[in-house]
Point group: C2
Chain length 256, copies 2
């Protein structure tokens, strides 16, 4: 049964998509069968994996709202063992369309159930909000990976995310837990990064990953080539950090 | 009548809040009477202006949903002539609560109508989504200022924002226009910034501001002191850039 991990933080631009795509690339290279589910209408993860978002193809919206079987929607990436359930612009409409649907929070969970056995890890990239699309990901998953940008606003937003996870645990998903908090865009030249790191390690003593992701321009360049960092520039600082994260996630999740 | 400008882009972390708060600081220093409306449940603009978001005080949610008069909600900032209508965590609930309300897109417009004469400029900081909170801001405003981060994903998201503005123009707000596109976090050391700039100037030949905001760590530090950059470090690169933007906005909007 594939482990489902939601990558979520309602603060914008903290590295959710960059983490989802590059962690997926590393895990696939380490032999795991990986599916990336893009639950963000911006479809950035879809682009970063070179999947087609503008074409006539259907995407995750059609699985959630019109119940198209996944087989017709899942695309292969350039990496052996890494597939993607792409997003598209229609997904923005799903937030409002699902509001009055029955069991609206559990749509993604039931959509993924029939294919979970085909993957070892399913990573769900969430939009920067705590609306129905993110609630669907939090209901379907076992764990939440929280990217935390090393900047001031990032710490402020954590308490509302933890409150939402708590609400989800008490209502629709009793087994949800935080798999880990990942410090992203860490800049050694800037004391703000060290301050945020110290405060975060105090707030989350046992859940912060040992691996920290440095600010590295190659990570910002690789999406324009539709390739995860492990293909675009496998020996840059960013790639080495995501490689270390991949090993840490495997151990923590007992996937080896 | 105060000019209402929404600062919006559904891509996360592109500098919406940083632009709202620092442009407001500059315009107030130049003698304009300014109100910042924080329509983001994260309440980052509220924090950056030193307003109280954790206390028992009511905030914009109470104006929108329980129709509390604004007089009781608006707080003064440390800068003479700059007020703030703060946000708070309850605002996240407003998205779902407003869904079935009558004239749900025009709530903010009617809330602001009675106080528009007291201000020259009203800046509305939007969350990273195109849901009901942003739609309220796009319905209430005359213009939209679009911060565009100089990174690859930023250009991708622009087309869905323009599509939404078009829909708003044809339905609830015929006078909406783009007041300007602002290039943010421009990093001279990184060729990606120059590529995004060239492409953006091609897409929006007449609407891009002359002023570009450089990446400058002081802009990321000032929110932790609850002060806009014009108070925290008025002569750093970031402050000089927002000062130039303030002058450009005054001229473009004919406010001088
Ligand atoms: N470690 C890093 N070093 C340099 N740039 C990075 C790093 N991580 C992410 N970026 C860049 O920062 C921007 C924000 O990252 P990303 O889009 O992954 O965040 P996000 O949380 O998914 O954003 P959103 O909230 O819009 O979904 C992107 O342009 C990305 O390329
Ligand atoms: N020019 C800049 N130089 C350096 N850091 C910046 C700059 N502009 C913004 N930042 C920092 O980048 C982060 C993102 O900026 P900000 O929060 O203003 O974006 P936003 O679009 O409002 O995000 P959200 O989508 O979450 O509302 C913040 O930590 C901010 O302090
Ligand atoms: Mg993303
Ligand atoms: Mg913001």
């Amino acid at each position: 049964m594939g482990r489902i991990i939601a990558v979520s933080n309602q603060k914008g631009g903290v590295g959710k998509t960059t983490t989802t795509v590059n962690l997926a690339g590393v895990l696939a290279k380490l032999g795991q069968r990986v599916l990336v589910v893009d639950m963000d209408p911006q479809a950035n993860a879809t682009t970063a994996l070179g999947a087609d978002k503008y074409g006539s193809r259907e995407h995750v919206y059609h699985a959630l709202v019109t119940e198209t079987p996944l087989g017709a929607l899942i695309q292969h990436s350039e990496i052996e063992g890494l597939d993607v359930l792409p997003s598209g612009p229609d997904l923005a409409g799903a937030e409002l369309e699902l509001v009055s649907a029955l069991a609206r929070e559990t749509k993604l969970k039931s959509v993924l159930a029939p294919i979970r056995d085909r993957y070892d890890v399913i990573l769900v990239d969430c939009p920067p909000s705590l609306g129905l699309l993110t609630l669907n990901a939090l209901t379907a998953c076992e764990g939440v990976l929280v990217p935390l940008q090393c900047e001031y606003y990032a710490l402020e937003g954590i308490s509302s995310l933890l409150r939402t996870i708590d609400l989800v645990r008490r209502s629709v998903n009793p087994r949800i837990r935080i798999t880990g908090v990942l410090l992203t865009m860490f800049d050694r030249r800037n004391r703000l990064s060290f301050q945020v790191e110290a405060e975060a390690r105090q707030h989350f003593p046992n859940v912060i990953y040992e691996t920290t992701i440095p600010r590295n321009v190659k990570l910002a360049e690789s999406p324009s080539f539709g390739k995860p960092i492990v293909l675009y520039d496998p020996f840059c600082q960013g790639a080495l950090a995501y490689d270390a994260l991949g090993h840490e996630v495997l151990v923590r999740e007992g996937l080896t």
